[in-house]
Protein backbone atom coordinates (compact mmCIF):
# COMPACT_ATOMS: atom_id res chain seq x y z
CA UNK A 1 0.00 0.00 0.00
CA UNK A 2 1.05 3.55 -0.70
CA UNK A 3 4.01 2.61 -2.83
CA UNK A 4 4.17 6.21 -4.00
CA UNK A 5 6.71 8.21 -1.98
CA UNK A 6 8.41 5.07 -0.63
CA UNK A 7 12.17 5.57 -0.48
CA UNK A 8 12.93 2.10 -1.88
CA UNK A 9 11.65 2.88 -5.38
CA UNK A 10 14.31 2.93 -8.05
CA UNK A 11 14.46 6.05 -10.20
CA UNK A 12 12.71 5.78 -13.54
CA UNK A 13 11.65 8.15 -16.24
CA UNK A 14 14.64 8.85 -18.49
CA UNK A 15 13.40 11.20 -21.19
CA UNK A 16 15.10 11.96 -24.48
CA UNK A 17 13.95 14.97 -26.40
CA UNK A 18 15.48 14.56 -29.84
CA UNK A 19 15.37 17.50 -32.23
CA UNK A 20 11.82 18.23 -31.12
CA UNK A 21 10.08 20.81 -33.28
CA UNK A 22 6.65 22.33 -33.38
CA UNK A 23 5.19 24.41 -36.17
CA UNK A 24 1.76 26.00 -35.79
CA UNK A 25 -0.40 26.84 -38.72
CA UNK A 26 -1.49 30.43 -38.12
CA UNK A 27 -3.23 33.06 -40.19
CA UNK A 28 -0.47 34.88 -42.05
CA UNK A 29 1.86 31.89 -42.21
CA UNK A 30 3.28 29.10 -40.13
CA UNK A 31 4.81 29.89 -36.75
CA UNK A 32 7.83 27.91 -35.62
CA UNK A 33 7.36 27.64 -31.86
CA UNK A 34 10.03 25.05 -31.08
CA UNK A 35 12.97 24.04 -33.26
CA UNK A 36 15.57 21.30 -32.91
CA UNK A 37 15.11 21.15 -29.13
CA UNK A 38 17.36 18.41 -27.79
CA UNK A 39 17.92 17.29 -24.21
CA UNK A 40 18.68 14.05 -22.42
CA UNK A 41 17.00 13.91 -19.01
CA UNK A 42 18.30 11.23 -16.67
CA UNK A 43 16.01 9.00 -14.61
CA UNK A 44 15.13 10.80 -11.42
CA UNK A 45 16.68 14.06 -12.53
CA UNK A 46 15.14 17.46 -11.78
CA UNK A 47 15.36 19.71 -14.81
CA UNK A 48 14.17 23.29 -14.84
CA UNK A 49 13.59 25.10 -18.12
CA UNK A 50 13.78 28.87 -18.10
CA UNK A 51 13.34 31.37 -20.87
CA UNK A 52 11.35 34.41 -21.88
CA UNK A 53 7.56 34.19 -21.71
CA UNK A 54 6.06 32.85 -24.86
CA UNK A 55 9.23 31.08 -25.93
CA UNK A 56 7.54 27.73 -26.41
CA UNK A 57 8.26 26.16 -23.04
CA UNK A 58 4.64 25.18 -22.51
CA UNK A 59 4.47 23.86 -26.07
CA UNK A 60 7.31 21.54 -25.20
CA UNK A 61 5.63 20.40 -22.01
CA UNK A 62 2.37 19.77 -23.86
CA UNK A 63 4.35 17.63 -26.30
CA UNK A 64 5.75 15.46 -23.53
CA UNK A 65 2.38 15.27 -21.79
CA UNK A 66 0.72 14.21 -25.03
CA UNK A 67 -1.76 17.07 -25.18
CA UNK A 68 -0.50 18.44 -28.49
CA UNK A 69 1.36 16.62 -31.26
CA UNK A 70 4.91 17.66 -32.13
CA UNK A 71 5.72 18.24 -35.79
CA UNK A 72 9.29 16.97 -35.94
CA UNK A 73 11.78 14.99 -33.91
CA UNK A 74 10.80 12.50 -31.27
CA UNK A 75 10.29 12.12 -27.54
CA UNK A 76 11.43 8.88 -25.90
CA UNK A 77 10.47 7.81 -22.38
CA UNK A 78 12.42 4.91 -20.87
CA UNK A 79 13.30 3.58 -24.30
CA UNK A 80 9.76 3.87 -25.66
CA UNK A 81 8.94 6.46 -28.25
CA UNK A 82 5.92 8.35 -26.95
CA UNK A 83 5.70 11.10 -29.54
CA UNK A 84 6.97 12.00 -33.00
CA UNK A 85 5.64 13.66 -36.10
CA UNK A 86 4.20 10.30 -37.13
CA UNK A 87 3.02 9.06 -33.73
CA UNK A 88 0.48 11.41 -32.20
CA UNK A 89 1.10 11.58 -28.48
CA UNK A 90 -1.49 10.33 -26.02
CA UNK A 91 -1.66 11.55 -22.43
CA UNK A 92 -1.07 8.91 -19.83
CA UNK A 93 -0.60 8.50 -16.10
CA UNK A 94 3.14 7.90 -16.54
CA UNK A 95 3.47 11.65 -17.28
CA UNK A 96 1.37 13.72 -14.93
CA UNK A 97 1.06 17.49 -15.28
CA UNK A 98 0.61 20.06 -12.53
CA UNK A 99 -0.93 23.08 -14.20
CA UNK A 100 -0.13 26.78 -14.05
CA UNK A 101 -3.45 27.80 -12.56
CA UNK A 102 -4.16 24.56 -10.76
CA UNK A 103 -6.57 21.94 -11.96
CA UNK A 104 -7.90 20.18 -8.89
CA UNK A 105 -11.47 19.18 -9.66
CA UNK A 106 -13.47 21.70 -7.63
CA UNK A 107 -16.42 19.30 -7.40
CA UNK A 108 -14.40 16.58 -5.69
CA UNK A 109 -13.05 16.65 -2.16
CA UNK A 110 -9.30 16.57 -1.64
CA UNK A 111 -9.23 12.83 -0.97
CA UNK A 112 -11.45 12.12 -4.00
CA UNK A 113 -9.12 14.22 -6.14
CA UNK A 114 -6.06 12.33 -4.92
CA UNK A 115 -7.69 8.93 -5.34
CA UNK A 116 -8.96 9.83 -8.82
CA UNK A 117 -5.96 8.48 -10.77
CA UNK A 118 -5.83 5.04 -9.13
CA UNK A 119 -9.61 4.74 -9.46
CA UNK A 120 -9.88 5.53 -13.16
CA UNK A 121 -6.84 3.44 -13.94
CA UNK A 122 -8.59 0.56 -12.10
CA UNK A 123 -5.31 0.01 -10.26
CA UNK A 124 -7.10 -0.93 -7.10
CA UNK A 125 -10.58 -0.99 -5.66
CA UNK A 126 -12.22 2.30 -4.91
CA UNK A 127 -12.02 1.77 -1.17
CA UNK A 128 -8.36 0.86 -1.40
CA UNK A 129 -7.57 3.90 -3.55
CA UNK A 130 -9.27 6.17 -1.03
CA UNK A 131 -7.35 4.55 1.80
CA UNK A 132 -4.08 5.00 -0.07
CA UNK A 133 -4.95 8.64 -0.76
CA UNK A 134 -5.60 9.29 2.93
CA UNK A 135 -2.35 7.63 3.93
CA UNK A 136 -0.42 9.71 1.46
CA UNK A 137 -2.13 12.95 2.48
CA UNK A 138 -1.39 12.21 6.12
CA UNK A 139 2.25 11.55 5.32
CA UNK A 140 2.67 15.03 3.81
CA UNK A 141 0.75 16.73 6.61
CA UNK A 142 -2.53 17.22 4.77
CA UNK A 143 -4.68 14.88 6.82
CA UNK A 144 -6.90 17.72 8.06
CA UNK A 145 -7.96 18.92 4.63
CA UNK A 146 -8.72 15.47 3.19
CA UNK A 147 -12.49 15.97 3.25
CA UNK A 148 -12.54 19.63 2.25
CA UNK A 149 -13.43 20.93 -1.18
CA UNK A 150 -10.54 22.70 -2.95
CA UNK A 151 -12.30 26.08 -2.92
CA UNK A 152 -11.93 26.13 0.88
CA UNK A 153 -8.13 25.86 0.68
CA UNK A 154 -5.40 28.43 0.09
CA UNK A 155 -3.73 28.23 -3.31
CA UNK A 156 -0.54 26.97 -1.68
CA UNK A 157 -2.37 24.02 -0.10
CA UNK A 158 -4.23 23.42 -3.37
CA UNK A 159 -0.92 23.13 -5.16
CA UNK A 160 0.43 20.68 -2.60
CA UNK A 161 -2.68 18.54 -2.97
CA UNK A 162 -2.30 18.66 -6.72
CA UNK A 163 1.27 17.39 -6.46
CA UNK A 164 0.11 14.54 -4.22
CA UNK A 165 -2.64 13.77 -6.73
CA UNK A 166 0.06 13.48 -9.38
CA UNK A 167 2.57 11.48 -7.33
CA UNK A 168 0.11 8.84 -6.11
CA UNK A 169 0.20 7.48 -9.68
CA UNK A 170 3.96 6.99 -9.40
CA UNK A 171 4.50 8.77 -12.71
CA UNK A 172 7.79 8.31 -14.50
CA UNK A 173 7.95 12.03 -14.97
CA UNK A 174 6.21 14.92 -13.27
CA UNK A 175 5.58 17.89 -15.54
CA UNK A 176 5.17 21.23 -13.80
CA UNK A 177 4.12 24.31 -15.75
CA UNK A 178 4.95 27.32 -13.58
CA UNK A 179 2.89 25.86 -10.76
CA UNK A 180 3.78 28.57 -8.25
CA UNK A 181 3.30 31.54 -10.52
CA UNK A 182 0.25 32.83 -8.69
CA UNK A 183 1.78 32.55 -5.21
CA UNK A 184 3.41 35.35 -3.26
CA UNK A 185 7.15 35.16 -2.54
CA UNK A 186 6.84 33.79 0.99
CA UNK A 187 4.42 30.99 0.17
CA UNK A 188 6.55 30.26 -2.86
CA UNK A 189 9.63 29.63 -0.69
CA UNK A 190 7.62 27.24 1.49
CA UNK A 191 6.25 25.48 -1.58
CA UNK A 192 9.76 25.00 -2.95
CA UNK A 193 10.78 23.12 0.15
CA UNK A 194 7.55 21.09 0.04
CA UNK A 195 8.15 20.18 -3.57
CA UNK A 196 11.72 19.13 -2.84
CA UNK A 197 10.54 16.96 0.05
CA UNK A 198 8.12 15.23 -2.29
CA UNK A 199 10.80 14.97 -4.94
CA UNK A 200 13.39 13.51 -2.58
CA UNK A 201 10.81 10.94 -1.44
CA UNK A 202 9.49 9.98 -4.87
CA UNK A 203 12.54 9.61 -7.13
CA UNK A 204 10.47 10.72 -10.05
CA UNK A 205 11.92 12.70 -12.90
CA UNK A 206 10.80 16.32 -12.88
CA UNK A 207 10.44 18.69 -15.82
CA UNK A 208 9.80 22.13 -14.36
CA UNK A 209 8.97 25.20 -16.38
CA UNK A 210 9.44 28.65 -14.92
CA UNK A 211 10.70 32.10 -15.63
CA UNK A 212 11.84 32.59 -12.03
CA UNK A 213 15.60 32.01 -12.00
CA UNK A 214 15.93 31.65 -8.21
CA UNK A 215 13.26 29.02 -8.28
CA UNK A 216 14.93 27.14 -11.14
CA UNK A 217 18.36 27.09 -9.50
CA UNK A 218 17.08 26.28 -6.03
CA UNK A 219 15.04 23.30 -7.24
CA UNK A 220 16.87 21.76 -10.15
CA UNK A 221 19.85 19.55 -10.91
CA UNK A 222 20.21 21.29 -14.23
CA UNK A 223 18.83 24.56 -15.51
CA UNK A 224 18.13 24.68 -19.23
CA UNK A 225 17.90 28.10 -20.82
CA UNK A 226 15.59 28.09 -23.81
CA UNK A 227 15.89 30.74 -26.52
CA UNK A 228 13.19 33.12 -27.59
CA UNK A 229 10.95 31.87 -30.38
CA UNK A 230 11.68 29.53 -32.01
CA UNK A 231 12.73 27.79 -28.82
CA UNK A 232 16.11 26.07 -28.90
CA UNK A 233 18.39 24.97 -26.10
CA UNK A 234 20.67 27.91 -25.54
CA UNK A 235 22.62 26.77 -22.48
CA UNK A 236 22.58 24.03 -19.86
CA UNK A 237 23.93 24.80 -16.41
CA UNK A 238 24.56 22.19 -13.74
CA UNK A 239 23.54 23.10 -10.20
CA UNK A 240 25.87 21.44 -7.72
CA UNK A 241 24.14 22.51 -4.53
CA UNK A 242 23.82 19.52 -2.19
CA UNK A 243 20.47 17.89 -1.36
CA UNK A 244 18.41 18.13 0.72
CA UNK A 245 18.30 21.82 -0.01
CA UNK A 246 17.45 24.56 2.42
CA UNK A 247 16.13 28.03 1.63
CA UNK A 248 19.24 29.58 3.24
CA UNK A 249 21.24 28.27 0.29
CA UNK A 250 19.69 30.97 -1.88
CA UNK A 251 22.02 33.43 -0.13
CA UNK A 252 25.19 31.32 -0.57
CA UNK A 253 27.94 32.52 -2.86
CA UNK A 254 27.67 29.39 -5.04
CA UNK A 255 24.01 30.10 -5.58
CA UNK A 256 24.57 33.74 -6.40
CA UNK A 257 27.41 32.98 -8.81
CA UNK A 258 25.18 30.50 -10.61
CA UNK A 259 22.34 32.96 -10.70
CA UNK A 260 24.56 35.62 -12.26
CA UNK A 261 25.54 33.13 -14.92
CA UNK A 262 21.97 32.10 -15.74
CA UNK A 263 20.69 35.65 -15.58
CA UNK A 264 23.27 36.70 -18.14
CA UNK A 265 22.13 34.14 -20.69
CA UNK A 266 18.43 34.67 -20.03
CA UNK A 267 18.81 38.42 -20.26
CA UNK A 268 20.23 38.22 -23.78
CA UNK A 269 17.19 36.22 -24.84
CA UNK A 270 14.74 38.45 -23.05
CA UNK A 271 16.23 41.48 -24.80
CA UNK A 272 15.96 39.78 -28.15
CA UNK A 273 12.32 38.96 -27.46
CA UNK A 274 11.63 42.46 -26.21
CA UNK A 275 13.13 44.05 -29.32
CA UNK A 276 10.96 41.85 -31.49
CA UNK A 277 8.00 43.03 -29.46
CA UNK A 278 6.73 39.56 -28.83
CA UNK A 279 3.51 39.09 -27.05
CA UNK A 280 2.95 36.42 -24.51
CA UNK A 281 2.15 33.19 -26.31
CA UNK A 282 1.73 31.05 -23.19
Amino acid sequence: MAAALSPAAAPKGAVSLRSVGKVYAAPGGDVVAVEDWTLEIGAGEFVAVVGPSGCGKTTLLNGIAGFDPITSGEIVLDGKRIASAAVPAKPGADRVVVFQNGALFPWKTVVDNVAYGPIVQRRSSRAEALREARTLLARVGLRDVADAYPSRLSSGVQRRVEMVRALINEPKILLLDEPFRALDATSKAVMHEELLKLYDASHTTVFFITHDLDEAIFLADRVVVSTTRPARVKAILRVDLPRPRDFRMTASSDFLALKAQVADVVHQEAEKAFRRGERELA
Binding site: F67, R95, P106, T109, G117, V120, Y149
Partner: protein
Protein backbone atom coordinates in the same frame (compact mmCIF):
# COMPACT_ATOMS: atom_id res chain seq x y z
CA UNK B 1 -38.10 42.37 7.61
CA UNK B 2 -37.72 44.78 4.73
CA UNK B 3 -39.38 42.14 2.58
CA UNK B 4 -42.45 42.18 4.83
CA UNK B 5 -42.50 45.98 4.60
CA UNK B 6 -42.53 45.63 0.81
CA UNK B 7 -45.65 43.46 1.01
CA UNK B 8 -47.37 45.91 3.33
CA UNK B 9 -46.55 48.85 1.06
CA UNK B 10 -47.85 46.99 -1.99
CA UNK B 11 -51.15 46.13 -0.32
CA UNK B 12 -51.48 49.68 1.05
CA UNK B 13 -51.01 51.27 -2.38
CA UNK B 14 -53.49 48.84 -3.85
CA UNK B 15 -56.03 49.65 -1.13
CA UNK B 16 -55.63 53.38 -1.61
CA UNK B 17 -55.94 53.15 -5.39
CA UNK B 18 -59.13 51.09 -5.10
CA UNK B 19 -60.62 53.10 -2.25
CA UNK B 20 -60.25 56.46 -4.02
CA UNK B 21 -61.12 54.94 -7.37
CA UNK B 22 -57.99 56.19 -9.02
CA UNK B 23 -58.09 55.61 -12.80
CA UNK B 24 -59.97 52.40 -13.43
CA UNK B 25 -59.03 50.81 -10.13
CA UNK B 26 -62.70 50.89 -9.24
CA UNK B 27 -62.97 47.69 -11.30
CA UNK B 28 -60.60 45.93 -8.90
CA UNK B 29 -61.76 44.59 -5.53
CA UNK B 30 -59.90 45.89 -2.48
CA UNK B 31 -57.30 43.57 -0.91
CA UNK B 32 -59.61 42.86 2.02
CA UNK B 33 -62.47 41.76 -0.24
CA UNK B 34 -60.22 39.34 -2.06
CA UNK B 35 -58.81 37.95 1.15
CA UNK B 36 -62.35 37.46 2.49
CA UNK B 37 -63.35 35.61 -0.66
CA UNK B 38 -60.17 33.50 -0.50
CA UNK B 39 -60.79 32.27 3.03
CA UNK B 40 -64.56 32.13 2.82
CA UNK B 41 -66.30 28.80 3.47
CA UNK B 42 -69.05 29.88 1.10
CA UNK B 43 -67.24 31.95 -1.57
CA UNK B 44 -69.38 34.21 -3.71
CA UNK B 45 -67.77 32.99 -6.94
CA UNK B 46 -67.17 29.38 -5.95
CA UNK B 47 -63.39 29.38 -5.46
CA UNK B 48 -61.64 29.60 -2.10
CA UNK B 49 -59.36 27.68 0.22
CA UNK B 50 -62.40 25.65 1.23
CA UNK B 51 -63.58 24.51 -2.18
CA UNK B 52 -62.56 21.28 -3.80
CA UNK B 53 -62.29 22.77 -7.31
CA UNK B 54 -59.59 25.21 -6.19
CA UNK B 55 -57.30 22.30 -5.30
CA UNK B 56 -58.30 20.41 -8.44
CA UNK B 57 -57.10 23.38 -10.50
CA UNK B 58 -53.86 23.68 -8.54
CA UNK B 59 -53.28 19.93 -8.86
CA UNK B 60 -53.94 20.00 -12.61
CA UNK B 61 -51.46 22.82 -13.16
CA UNK B 62 -48.77 21.50 -10.84
CA UNK B 63 -48.81 18.00 -12.31
CA UNK B 64 -48.63 19.39 -15.86
CA UNK B 65 -45.67 21.59 -14.98
CA UNK B 66 -43.91 18.78 -13.15
CA UNK B 67 -44.43 16.37 -16.04
CA UNK B 68 -43.19 18.93 -18.57
CA UNK B 69 -40.27 19.96 -16.39
CA UNK B 70 -39.24 16.35 -15.77
CA UNK B 71 -39.36 15.64 -19.50
CA UNK B 72 -37.36 18.78 -20.24
CA UNK B 73 -34.71 17.72 -17.73
CA UNK B 74 -34.52 14.08 -18.77
CA UNK B 75 -34.31 14.94 -22.47
CA UNK B 76 -32.64 18.34 -22.33
CA UNK B 77 -29.67 17.70 -20.05
CA UNK B 78 -28.34 14.63 -21.91
CA UNK B 79 -28.90 16.33 -25.27
CA UNK B 80 -27.11 19.47 -24.07
CA UNK B 81 -24.18 17.36 -22.83
CA UNK B 82 -24.04 15.52 -26.14
CA UNK B 83 -24.09 18.77 -28.13
CA UNK B 84 -21.37 20.27 -25.96
CA UNK B 85 -19.22 17.18 -25.90
CA UNK B 86 -19.49 15.83 -29.44
CA UNK B 87 -18.65 18.00 -32.41
CA UNK B 88 -20.47 15.81 -34.92
CA UNK B 89 -23.67 15.89 -32.88
CA UNK B 90 -23.32 19.66 -32.54
CA UNK B 91 -22.73 20.26 -36.25
CA UNK B 92 -25.67 17.99 -37.06
CA UNK B 93 -28.27 19.29 -34.61
CA UNK B 94 -27.36 22.76 -33.41
CA UNK B 95 -28.38 24.73 -36.54
CA UNK B 96 -31.75 22.96 -36.49
CA UNK B 97 -32.26 23.75 -32.82
CA UNK B 98 -31.33 27.37 -33.38
CA UNK B 99 -34.10 27.64 -35.97
CA UNK B 100 -36.75 25.96 -33.86
CA UNK B 101 -35.85 27.66 -30.61
CA UNK B 102 -37.03 31.21 -31.48
CA UNK B 103 -40.54 29.97 -32.29
CA UNK B 104 -42.61 31.27 -29.36
CA UNK B 105 -44.49 28.57 -27.42
CA UNK B 106 -47.80 30.22 -28.35
CA UNK B 107 -47.09 29.65 -32.02
CA UNK B 108 -47.05 25.93 -31.29
CA UNK B 109 -50.66 25.98 -29.99
CA UNK B 110 -52.50 25.08 -33.20
CA UNK B 111 -50.12 22.26 -34.12
CA UNK B 112 -50.10 20.96 -30.56
CA UNK B 113 -53.88 20.78 -30.48
CA UNK B 114 -54.12 19.28 -33.96
CA UNK B 115 -51.49 16.64 -33.45
CA UNK B 116 -51.84 15.56 -29.85
CA UNK B 117 -54.71 13.37 -28.78
CA UNK B 118 -55.71 15.07 -25.55
CA UNK B 119 -55.87 18.61 -24.28
CA UNK B 120 -53.61 17.71 -21.39
CA UNK B 121 -50.99 16.30 -23.76
CA UNK B 122 -51.13 19.51 -25.82
CA UNK B 123 -50.69 21.69 -22.73
CA UNK B 124 -47.84 19.56 -21.39
CA UNK B 125 -46.17 19.79 -24.79
CA UNK B 126 -46.39 23.60 -24.82
CA UNK B 127 -45.09 23.74 -21.27
CA UNK B 128 -42.29 21.34 -22.10
CA UNK B 129 -41.01 22.98 -25.25
CA UNK B 130 -39.87 26.27 -23.73
CA UNK B 131 -38.31 24.59 -20.71
CA UNK B 132 -36.60 22.08 -22.98
CA UNK B 133 -34.76 24.69 -25.04
CA UNK B 134 -33.64 26.64 -21.99
CA UNK B 135 -32.26 23.41 -20.52
CA UNK B 136 -30.51 22.20 -23.68
CA UNK B 137 -28.90 25.52 -24.43
CA UNK B 138 -27.63 26.20 -20.93
CA UNK B 139 -26.32 22.67 -20.52
CA UNK B 140 -24.44 23.02 -23.78
CA UNK B 141 -22.96 26.34 -22.64
CA UNK B 142 -22.06 24.65 -19.37
CA UNK B 143 -19.98 22.05 -21.19
CA UNK B 144 -18.27 24.77 -23.22
CA UNK B 145 -17.51 26.72 -20.04
CA UNK B 146 -15.42 23.92 -18.52
CA UNK B 147 -11.77 24.86 -18.23
CA UNK B 148 -9.71 22.78 -20.66
CA UNK B 149 -7.15 22.21 -17.88
CA UNK B 150 -9.62 19.97 -15.98
CA UNK B 151 -10.09 17.81 -19.06
CA UNK B 152 -6.36 17.58 -19.67
CA UNK B 153 -5.72 16.81 -16.00
CA UNK B 154 -8.29 14.02 -16.15
CA UNK B 155 -6.65 12.48 -19.21
CA UNK B 156 -3.15 12.63 -17.82
CA UNK B 157 -4.35 10.95 -14.63
CA UNK B 158 -5.34 8.00 -16.79
CA UNK B 159 -9.00 8.69 -17.64
CA UNK B 160 -10.79 7.21 -20.57
CA UNK B 161 -13.31 9.30 -22.47
CA UNK B 162 -16.15 7.87 -20.46
CA UNK B 163 -14.41 8.72 -17.15
CA UNK B 164 -13.96 12.30 -18.33
CA UNK B 165 -17.64 12.53 -19.20
CA UNK B 166 -18.79 11.40 -15.77
CA UNK B 167 -16.13 13.02 -13.64
CA UNK B 168 -15.46 16.29 -15.43
CA UNK B 169 -18.07 17.15 -18.06
CA UNK B 170 -21.21 16.38 -16.07
CA UNK B 171 -20.19 17.98 -12.75
CA UNK B 172 -18.41 20.84 -14.54
CA UNK B 173 -21.53 21.71 -16.52
CA UNK B 174 -23.80 21.49 -13.47
CA UNK B 175 -23.87 25.20 -12.51
CA UNK B 176 -25.08 26.10 -16.00
CA UNK B 177 -27.46 23.14 -16.06
CA UNK B 178 -29.17 24.53 -12.98
CA UNK B 179 -29.29 28.00 -14.47
CA UNK B 180 -31.07 26.38 -17.39
CA UNK B 181 -33.45 24.49 -15.09
CA UNK B 182 -34.29 27.71 -13.20
CA UNK B 183 -35.09 29.50 -16.44
CA UNK B 184 -36.91 26.39 -17.64
CA UNK B 185 -39.12 26.32 -14.57
CA UNK B 186 -40.01 29.97 -15.10
CA UNK B 187 -40.92 29.64 -18.76
CA UNK B 188 -42.77 26.39 -18.03
CA UNK B 189 -45.31 28.24 -15.86
CA UNK B 190 -45.57 30.96 -18.48
CA UNK B 191 -46.37 28.52 -21.27
CA UNK B 192 -48.61 26.44 -19.04
CA UNK B 193 -50.94 29.33 -18.30
CA UNK B 194 -51.04 30.32 -21.96
CA UNK B 195 -51.85 26.73 -22.90
CA UNK B 196 -54.54 26.36 -20.24
CA UNK B 197 -56.18 29.60 -21.31
CA UNK B 198 -56.37 28.49 -24.90
CA UNK B 199 -56.94 24.77 -24.65
CA UNK B 200 -57.67 23.97 -21.04
CA UNK B 201 -60.59 22.55 -19.15
CA UNK B 202 -58.89 22.73 -15.78
CA UNK B 203 -55.90 24.37 -14.13
CA UNK B 204 -55.06 27.80 -12.80
CA UNK B 205 -54.85 29.37 -16.26
CA UNK B 206 -58.29 27.99 -17.05
CA UNK B 207 -59.57 29.22 -13.68
CA UNK B 208 -58.40 32.76 -14.44
CA UNK B 209 -59.82 32.84 -17.95
CA UNK B 210 -63.11 31.31 -16.83
CA UNK B 211 -63.40 33.86 -14.02
CA UNK B 212 -62.73 36.62 -16.53
CA UNK B 213 -65.54 35.37 -18.78
CA UNK B 214 -67.90 35.65 -15.81
CA UNK B 215 -66.40 38.88 -14.46
CA UNK B 216 -65.40 37.26 -11.17
CA UNK B 217 -62.49 39.59 -10.52
CA UNK B 218 -61.74 38.25 -7.03
CA UNK B 219 -61.25 34.79 -8.46
CA UNK B 220 -58.92 36.17 -11.13
CA UNK B 221 -56.71 37.71 -8.48
CA UNK B 222 -56.86 34.55 -6.34
CA UNK B 223 -55.70 32.54 -9.35
CA UNK B 224 -52.87 34.99 -10.04
CA UNK B 225 -51.68 35.00 -6.44
CA UNK B 226 -51.78 31.21 -6.38
CA UNK B 227 -49.64 31.11 -9.51
CA UNK B 228 -47.15 33.42 -7.86
CA UNK B 229 -47.05 31.18 -4.84
CA UNK B 230 -46.61 27.82 -6.57
CA UNK B 231 -44.19 29.38 -9.06
CA UNK B 232 -42.06 30.65 -6.21
CA UNK B 233 -42.14 27.27 -4.48
CA UNK B 234 -41.11 25.42 -7.62
CA UNK B 235 -38.18 27.78 -8.27
CA UNK B 236 -37.08 27.44 -4.67
CA UNK B 237 -37.17 23.65 -5.02
CA UNK B 238 -34.89 23.80 -8.08
CA UNK B 239 -32.52 26.15 -6.26
CA UNK B 240 -32.47 23.87 -3.25
CA UNK B 241 -31.69 20.80 -5.36
CA UNK B 242 -28.92 22.75 -7.09
CA UNK B 243 -27.27 23.85 -3.89
CA UNK B 244 -27.44 20.29 -2.55
CA UNK B 245 -25.72 18.93 -5.66
CA UNK B 246 -23.13 21.70 -5.80
CA UNK B 247 -21.95 21.98 -2.22
CA UNK B 248 -18.45 22.29 -3.66
CA UNK B 249 -19.07 25.75 -5.07
CA UNK B 250 -17.36 28.63 -3.29
CA UNK B 251 -19.94 30.72 -1.52
Amino acid sequence: MLGAAGFVAFVAVWYVLVHFEVWRFAKLPAPGAILREWVSRKPEFGTSLFTRTYYDDIWASVTRVLAAFALATVLGVPLGILLGWNRIARDFLFPLLELIRPIPPLAWVPLAILMLSSQTAAIVFLTWIAAFFATVLNTMLGVASIDEAYIRAAYCLGSRRWDVLWNVIVPGALPYVFTGLQIGMGVAWFSLVAGEMIAGDAGLGYLILNAYDQLQVSTIVIGMATLGFVGFLSSAAVRWAGSRLMAWQPR
